[in-house]
């Protein structure tokens, strides 16, 4: 399990890197949460200095980072200045919703994109291939924000789905079944925006990697032996094409997380997005850092799952410890 161990070490290094970067940036940035207070004549400079030392902001960067790391190991990411409450529970209550949104979107995206990509590659040049290529080229190049706002407009205009929030106002009185249905209805719009944007990206990659394998010599040989097209595709092409596609899974997670942040803010989904936007506007330092760490945690977790899946799928990795993992560019 050397491979797994190395991936774990890398994941931890990544997390340390992200947090160090965050602290470096806070140090370089002018201004802080207390700037507004300083303008208020009723608050004395002593009070502000006392507050600063209470939140540890008067310490040098290294000391602050060391302290933060120590408490972060106990899953304590600091204290929100604006909410006057520890950051971790606050973030976690929102992160659950973000996770619900992104995992649903991720599953749906791959359920749609993989068959579509394989199909269009196998029937290259067909009508479906041309349509899908054109549509995905369009949706890849159009900014996600524009797609999100356009879908929102359609939904609001014709009142297709409930918009804003995660549940209806009278959620508490619903029966269990109605509750589930209510959440699904609220989930539908943000998920469809994400699926639309991400599917366009993934279909292209899946199609490209299947096409690449289809062009290989040994496929020609297998075809020459009279292997049926179906068997060729499922037995000889797909297992090989799976490697780049699965490494892409990790990368697609980054896109999905960024996308979900934006979609949450547009649709008012109570995930990390709106919280982070608020924290940004009020310069709530530890909340912002915590939000970034949470997203990096999801990211690293997703990449790790992708790595483990690669291990299961690709015999080359099991043999050499590290296959020819190529960057999904």
């Amino acid at each position: 399990m050397n491979y797994i161990g190395r991936r774990l070490v890398r994941a931890i290094l990544l997390l340390i890197g992200v947090s160090a970067l965050c602290f470096l940036l806070t140090e370089m940035a002018p201004g802080s949460f207390f700037d507004e207070m300083r303008l208020n004549p009723q608050i004395s400079p002593q009070t502000i200095a006392a507050l600063r030392s209470r939140y540890g902001l008067d310490q040098p960067l290294i000391v602050r980072y060391g302290r933060w790391m120590k408490s972060a190991l106990h899953a304590d990411l600091g204290y929100s200045i604006a909410y006057s409450t520890p950051v971790t529970p606050l973030l976690w209550s929102r992160a659950k919703n973000t996770l619900l949104l992104t995992t649903t979107a991720l599953l749906l995206t791959w359920m749609i994109a993989v068959p579509l990509g394989v199909w269009t590659a196998a029937r290259r040049g067909g009508l479906l291939d041309k349509t899908v290529s054109l549509a995905s080229a369009f949706f890849v190049s159009v900014p996600e924000l524009v797609i999100a706002v356009a879908l929102l407009a359609i939904v609001v205009r014709w009142r297709i789905l409930p918009v804003g929030g995660m549940v209806s106002a009278d959620f508490e009185v619903f029966s269990a079944g109605a509750k589930l249905q209510d959440v699904i209805l609220h989930l539908a719009l943000p998920v469809s925006i994400l699926v639309l944007c991400e599917t366009a990206v993934i279909v292209r990659h899946v199609r490209a990697s299947v096409l690449e394998v289809l062009g290989a010599r040994y496929i020609e040989v297998a075809r020459g032996f009279g292997t049926s097209p179906t068997r060729l595709l499922f037995r000889h092409v797909l297992p090989v094409a799976a490697n780049p596609a699965v490494s892409l899974l990790g990368f697609s997670l980054a896109g999905l997380l960024s996308g979900s942040l934006m979609v949450e803010m547009v649709c008012g989904w109570p995930g990390l997005g709106p919280l982070l936007l608020e924290a940004t506007l009020s310069r709530d330092l530890y909340l912002v850092i915590g939000g970034i760490i949470f997203s990096a945690l999801f990211m690293v977790g997703g990449n790790f799952v992708a790595d483990v899946m690669l291990l299961a799928l690709d015999p080359r990795i099991r043999r050499d410890g590290d296959g020819d993992r190529t960057d999904a560019s």
Binding site: G17, L25, T26, L145, V146, A150, A296, V300
Partner: protein, 342 residues
């Protein structure tokens, strides 16, 4: 293929020229408000009136109809016709930020107004704002791309050429940057910068941040190219003849990366325009009254505006057109690069 590429490039160049000389093509100042005309629909160009057909188009003024509930509907005031003229005098502006002039491409005789894309909530001419906003948004995309490519290629060259631990460290850092969900990070970085800044400082901070986050992918690409060309026979030969590092890089290695960098640029510009639009949309980028495509779209956050005033989607359409053109250019460049290298 050739002809298509030529048309594409011509359209792109044209787009940028129009945006660059926005003051000339926009009939009005982008920040002048008209509180009498909020959310006025686009002006219709007419060619026919009671006296017959006119070759020169003319417009009517909008008058607001207050039908009990203030819904802000407008009706054409047919009592006066205002002919539309080309190359007319209008509000003063500085062309390219240097030459002060008041000549505009088109306009109607005052007090008639040609509002091609209608007006926004403050009665500002949406068409002029799309052009001026495009200046900001596209310039943000281009500047950020430049910063990303410059940083990326310098670090990529260092990593690829000097190798060993420098390479390993730098590639480790690129992995860090590549695995960050960029929007989270952008928002975080924005959180650490002061909220209220002059437009110019916001612009440069914004583009700097966007560009500096994006250096990782170009750095990896450049590193790969440098690594592969460093050990080519002709490079080794030139080194054997006593070529210095700088000479080898400049003469033999850097030209190899040019095509890839160009393709990357075409890919990154729309991505960074989208980044600016997204940030400004949420009020974290370029702020009012200076228009950018992002902060113009942010008015759509109100549901009533979102579904009622179709013409306020004009900046969205502009973003879509620009992005699609650039992506197409990236496709063309990519396929040419491929056919070149095989």
């Amino acid at each position: 293929m050739r002809a298509k590429t030529a048309i594409l490039v011509a359209v792109l160049v044209g787009l940028h020229l129009v945006l660059l000389s926005a003051g000339f093509f926009a009939p009005y100042d982008p920040t002048t408000q008209d509180r009498e005309l909020p959310y006025a629909p686009p002006t219709r160009l007419h060619f026919e009136d009671d006296s017959g057909f006119h070759l020169r188009p003319f417009v009517y003024a909008w008058t607001s109809v207050l039908d009990g509930n203030y819904s802000g509907s407008y009706e054409e005031d047919r009592s006066h016709e205002y002919p539309v003229h080309f190359v007319v005098q209008g509000p003063r502006y500085k062309l390219f930020g240097v030459f002060e002039t008041n000549v505009h491409w088109f306009g109607a005789i005052e007090p008639g107004r040609v509002l091609l894309f209608g007006t926004d909530g403050y009665g500002r001419d949406e068409f002029s704002r799309v052009l001026f906003g495009g200046q900001i948004s596209v310039a943000a995309g281009l500047t950020a791309t430049f910063i990303a490519l410059l940083t990326g290629s310098v670090l990529g060259i260092i990593a690829g050429y000097y190798g060993r631990w420098v390479d390993e460290t730098l590639m480790g850092v690129t992995e860090l940057f590549l695995s960050l969900p960029w929007l989270y990070f952008l928002l975080g970085v924005r959180a650490f910068l002061p909220l209220h800044l002059s437009t110019l400082r916001t612009f440069f901070l914004l583009t700097g941040v966007i560009g500096l986050i994006g250096w990782a992918r170009p750095a990896r690409l450049v590193r790969g190219l440098v690594l592969s060309s460093r050990n080519r026979n002709y490079v080794l030969a030139a080194r054997g003849f006593g070529g210095s590092d700088v000479y080898l890089l400049r003469r033999h290695i850097l030209p190899e990366t040019f095509g890839v960098l160009l393709t990357q640029a075409a890919l990154l510009v729309p991505k960074y325009i989208a980044a600016e639009v997204t940030l400004s949309f949420f009020g974290l980028g370029v702020s009012e009254p200076v228009p950018s495509w992002g902060n113009m779209l942010s008015t759509l956050q109100q549901y009533s505006v979102l579904i009622s005033y179709g013409w306020l989607w004009a900046p969205a359409c502009a973003v879509i057109v620009t992005s699609v053109l650039y992506s197409y250019l990236a496709d063309v460049l990519h396929s040419q690069l491929k056919s070149h290298s095989t």
